[in-house]
Symmetry: C2
Subunit: 425 residues, 2 copies
Amino acid sequence: MKDGQLAIGIAGLGTVGKQVAQAILNGALPGVVLSHVVVRDTAIDRGLDLAGVQVGTDLQELVAPDNSIDLVVELIGGENGPALDLVKSALSSGKSVVTANKAMLARHSIELATLADEKNQILAFEAAVAGGIPIIKTIREALAGNKVTRLSGILNGTCNFILSKMAETGGAFEEILAQAQSLGYAEADPSFDIEGIDAAQKLTLLAGLAFGITPDLTSVSLRGITDITARDISASSDFKCSIRLIAKAESMDGNANLWVGPALLRRSHPLYAIDGVTNAVVISAEPVGELMLQGPGAGGGATASAVLGDIADIAGGFGRSLFSQPVQTLVKAHSENAQLVSAWYLRFLLADTAGSMASVTQILAKNGVSIEEAIQRAPNVGETHLPVVFITHVTAESAVIKAIDEVKELSGIAADVLCLPVFTE
Amino acid sequence: MKDGQLAIGIAGLGTVGKQVAQAILNGALPGVVLSHVVVRDTAIDRGLDLAGVQVGTDLQELVAPDNSIDLVVELIGGENGPALDLVKSALSSGKSVVTANKAMLARHSIELATLADEKNQILAFEAAVAGGIPIIKTIREALAGNKVTRLSGILNGTCNFILSKMAETGGAFEEILAQAQSLGYAEADPSFDIEGIDAAQKLTLLAGLAFGITPDLTSVSLRGITDITARDISASSDFKCSIRLIAKAESMDGNANLWVGPALLRRSHPLYAIDGVTNAVVISAEPVGELMLQGPGAGGGATASAVLGDIADIAGGFGRSLFSQPVQTLVKAHSENAQLVSAWYLRFLLADTAGSMASVTQILAKNGVSIEEAIQRAPNVGETHLPVVFITHVTAESAVIKAIDEVKELSGIAADVLCLPVFTE
């Protein structure tokens, strides 16, 4: 830092970068000056007055050890490639880094945190999880004296938009996905979001902070939302529940279980009514009890807000090390323990013949799966199978899976069975 | 700090102090040691193992300039008196202070912030506003790059318990207040809470941080909940609204309007369904948009959590100056601007005679107060007046007040009129 000024270089002037640059040019962060920006094409007019700012196309300009930049803001994205190279080079050259890149961190956080600690630099990533919600700061700083026991959140705005819109309109998954794409809420290739991978990446970062678990996507019990039908949405509403993609990490025996998937939420659940692209996280911790934070999970303004908060912390000398604990002390999650014990939503399509319902309920009973509520509807026109939905009492996942496997072996039962957990809190 | 250890002294081992002490004794905050505690009566067994901790009854022991204490935790309470003396002496002796004392801060924050800055010490107060919710940290740090435009919160658990319980049970104010007292949610003398003073004190501290407004209780347009009747609760529910004590600060022309009072909240309002002793704050800011934080607003665990977070920040060298700006740059709120423009709930008791309804609606119309919804009910047995309730279209407060004054002059209209704003967001 020269004359008490923190000089920053921004890689990428997309929606987020433009807002970050504009705020700094406006003097939103005293003591912070915009020194460099690197973009793909310098000819594009971004409506920014960049007089006095070095504008280039070569990322190397940001990380030269002898330039005046103290902090590099990485907003180019991508799990590997130029973003990763840039962040590594910046840390190696003794520059701190602020990034919104969850994919890169979920994959490389150990290597990058080690490098940052070695070089005594800060690698800040508030923007990488839940957009404008200060979830990293809350877990790492505000709850420093707490023991977190559980995190439960809506971390993917695309899935939440699709599921809440399906409930609002009665539309089919594919139809609402197309709507989300046309609104810019889903990518042309939406798999990263709708398969739950994005939420799982964010969850591994939160679990790293809250439970000291090495971020590792393979430790997450992971399922997307692609097999949720309009019929399931309507049935969940008959049961006075909503369906949401939930990311959940629970401490267990000095370790933690990480789970991402669609679930039915009862009205008592704090995330029951979170609609649209909003994100929300419920933190259970001792001694505080239960906190909930909610806000915009994506978008230029929300992400820029988080990036600016990180820059302000670093400018004030308030940056923290990535996991708030030495990287070597992190432990691997025992994903084999990630067995849910909960109530379950079961949807079967049964042949419209005498005794099919009796066969299914017998199998459930035999496996100790007892039924709390059941709804059987007439089939839609042209369908030969009856949709039957159950909510079970609280049961171990293994028992439910075993029962479903046996049901699938019955002749005349359609293979199309859906099983989702039902969460009360 | 000696050997990199932060030595703390706690004044007061009540519900909060005990939990803070226990957490530190358990090693919840690495690098923090409990050096002294001062209590009224050392003979009481608090279930803490205080071996190695100096236990006394003299607050002076905590602030002696030559003792080993780096940080004093003030948990004795009270706007003036021993708490204020202790905090001043501690800062003067070069010790930082963590406090949960909103009453003291609301009155003396300028003097104390000035002293802390002078002595280069931290005065931290996360626990003073909204209990376990990290609202100070969020506004001051996470939103450092934002411009806050509005804060709107439920900051008093006692009032929120009473109002939500009245709705749940249909009970009268006095009855539910007595229940709150027996549950420990309201003091024997509840006026501080139910008159809105507690919420107003907290609001002035938030507005100090968010808008640079000098904390000053007289700048708050303030009203308590004592004239809310079971009839109003029931009418609000007929209008699909809840009634909550809302604390609101809105930026206006480089200044801010501060308002505390009961209001009807429509279902669209993010605070509509906040029940019981929970606190919640909605922050509107640019560029982030809207954030909401909710959690326990009081109680030993929630307050201890916030105190521990502050201690951790100071131990790590991450403490911030009280208002994040020099005290001299704070400005006085122009409370004269605090005119609400909103929809209004009006409740009249009208004489059960022909023409009384017509007289009232005429006066409203003459003053430009147009009616969106009206409900007239039969009087309760033994009552000679008809309850009539209206929700108006959005109107300036002055017009509504003028209309009410004219209605009160009508002969045969009971003087008992209630007027509350109706908030949509």
